[in-house]
């Protein structure tokens, strides 16, 4: 995405010193990240470095061990019940594995947030759901299928439709294009760009797909060993002299990032 003019208001999301470990496995180790309002940030980083964990901490699904997370200047770590739900209504999230409710048909999955937390009538919600499904390139017949009857890429698109159905202020996309064919991948990229530009939403995405990152991001941040080790405007990613970023962007096995693979 083309760079946007920087402004100095409070960031939409402000993460400071975020740490999270599972037993002995220290995943996040004092991570700092700012996302401004209307900005689209992409987080890149190796598999298992804690990108999904970062999103879940911000949404309050996982409780951080320490650190602070502010949304619109409000501290959300430690918020519970109704207060946390009020904050969560600002968010939409596409899960890495879609996480569709398999007891509900596709349209109810998409309409879930509208019906349950916004109190929209089922009939109206169904119509809106149909529009959202069309926006992600799914045909109307799909609405009445159950998630088990969908292909992986279709699930991902239904998950995407669910994430944007309530037109949230902030949208998280966990690997939006993985498992899609290149053309559909580009359709989804354009959709994300459109959501950010037209609705003015703030987006935080995770991807391994550099073409997608270049298209949807204003800014790219690289997560390595539990911290953001580099972050800069999308154009800078090719000119940076950061060896970690270079290795990741060019997809080389040799470099400072070592993969724990033993040579046969």
């Amino acid at each position: 995405m083309t760079p946007r003019s920087t402004n100095s208001q409070t960031p939409k999301i402000r993460v400071r010193g975020l740490s999270k470990s599972f037993g002995d496995n220290q995943v996040l180790r004092g991570l700092d990240l700012d996302v401004d309002e209307g900005e689209s940030v992409v987080v890149i980083g190796g598999s298992g470095t804690g990108k999904s964990v970062l999103l879940k901490c911000i949404l309050g699904i996982l409780e951080p061990d320490s650190g602070s997370i502010e949304v619109d200047g409000e501290e959300v770590v430690g918020l519970r019940g109704g207060d946390m739900d009020r904050v969560r209504r600002k968010f939409g999230m596409l899960f890495q594995n879609a996480a569709l409710f398999d007891s509900l048909p596709v349209w109810e999955n998409v309409a879930f947030g509208m019906i349950q937390s916004e109190g929209v009538a089922r009939k109206r919600a169904r119509e809106t759901a149909a529009e959202k499904l069309a926006a992600v390139g799914l045909r109307p017949e799909v609405a009445d299928l159950f998630p088990a009857e969908l292909s992986g890429g279709m699930k991902k698109r239904v998950g995407l439709a669910r994430a944007i159905a309530t037109e949230p202020e902030i949208v998280f996309f966990d690997e939006p294009t993985t498992g899609l064919d290149p053309i559909m991948g580009d359709v989804i990229n354009s959709l994300i760009v459109e959501i950010v530009q037209k609705l003015g939403a703030t987006a935080l995405s995770i991807t391994h797909d550099m073409a997608s990152a270049r298209k949807i991001a204003h800014r790219i941040a690289m997560l390595y060993e539990g911290r953001i080790i580099w972050n800069g405007a999308t154009e800078e990613i090719d000119s940076t002299d950061n060896a970690y970023v270079q290795q990741f962007v060019n997809g080389r096995a040799e470099g400072p990032i070592e993969m724990p693979v033993r040579q046969a």
């Binding site: 949404l59 699904i61 969560r88 594995n97 398999d102 947030g113």
Partner: protein, 257 residues
């Protein structure tokens, strides 16, 4: 020394597990009695727990009633006390066998289904997705199931009582040549309100426990398919044990003096 350590550690982890369960239970109850209520889901669960369990519970009840009449006849005929048969059937079915057998059958059916469904939702991040959509999983998933257990089981047991007593009547009149009118008259005489009520109270407790165990083990399942499988087994086993032990306690409360 090592033995003491093992005993101590086991005891402590047992206490921790009980603590977690009580925490889960009080959290679930506090959400179950406060709005929002999800009527649509409660309806579906009532259908699942109550209506679809009818065949299983009905079959269990009719054969139990039949075998009760048959067994007590062979026993009582020795003392020529055959007229006590309707009494045995009525009291055993309403007080004990109706609620306990229906409870155990439903534990196998529903406890397992709840644990498997909620467990799958846990390991496939559906519960996380629910939370993200600002919907409390205790209210949306657990509360309707607890209510369904609490409401359905007494209704099922009432049906089981009727079918069980009818089973006894069938065997007594067709096989053992009892006079139908006398048998029915005796049955009515021996039928005590307190027996039925105690059975229904038991049923409500069992229904709650079955749903609680299904939800608890499902909600806390870890890993993939294996974790869900373990949760399912644990839900059925723990529900069955709780049914049998709470059955004793409730009986003691009602009938011991």
């Amino acid at each position: 020394m090592a033995l003491l350590q093992i005993v101590g550690r086991t005891f402590l982890s047992f206490l921790a597990a009980v603590g977690r369960l009580f925490l889960f239970m009080s959290l679930s109850i506090s959400h179950a009695v406060r709005p929002p209520f999800y009527g649509r889901i409660l309806g579906r669960q009532l259908l699942e727990v109550g209506y679809y369990s009818l065949p299983v519970v009905g079959l269990t009840a009719i054969f139990t009633g039949m075998v009760l009449a048959l067994q007590s006849y062979t026993g009582f005929a020795r003392f020529s006390a055959e007229s006590a048969i309707p009494n045995v059937v009525v009291v055993s079915i309403t007080r004990e066998l109706g609620p306990v057998l229906a409870g155990l059958m439903v534990a196998g059916r529903i406890g397992a289904a709840m644990a498997a469904e909620i467990g799958t939702m846990r390991v496939t991040e559906q519960i996380d997705a629910l939370t993200t959509l600002a919907t409390n999983p205790y209210k949306y998933l657990i509360a309707p199931r607890l209510w369904a257990g609490l409401i359905s089981l007494p209704l099922l047991v009432l049906t089981a009582d009727i079918i069980g007593i009818f089973g006894g009547y069938l065997v007594a009149t067709y096989k053992l040549d009892f006079n139908a009118a006398t048998y029915l008259k005796n049955t009515r005489e021996f039928l005590e309100v307190m027996d039925v009520v105690s059975g229904l109270v038991k049923a409500a407790v069992f229904g709650f426990l079955i749903a609680l165990m299904g939800c608890y083990h499902g909600f806390h399942s870890k890993g993939g398919a294996q974790g869900v499988g373990a949760a399912t087994t644990n839900a059925v086993v723990s529900a069955s044990i709780l049914i049998l032990s709470s059955n004793y306690i409730i009986t003691e409360l009602f009938f011991a003096r």
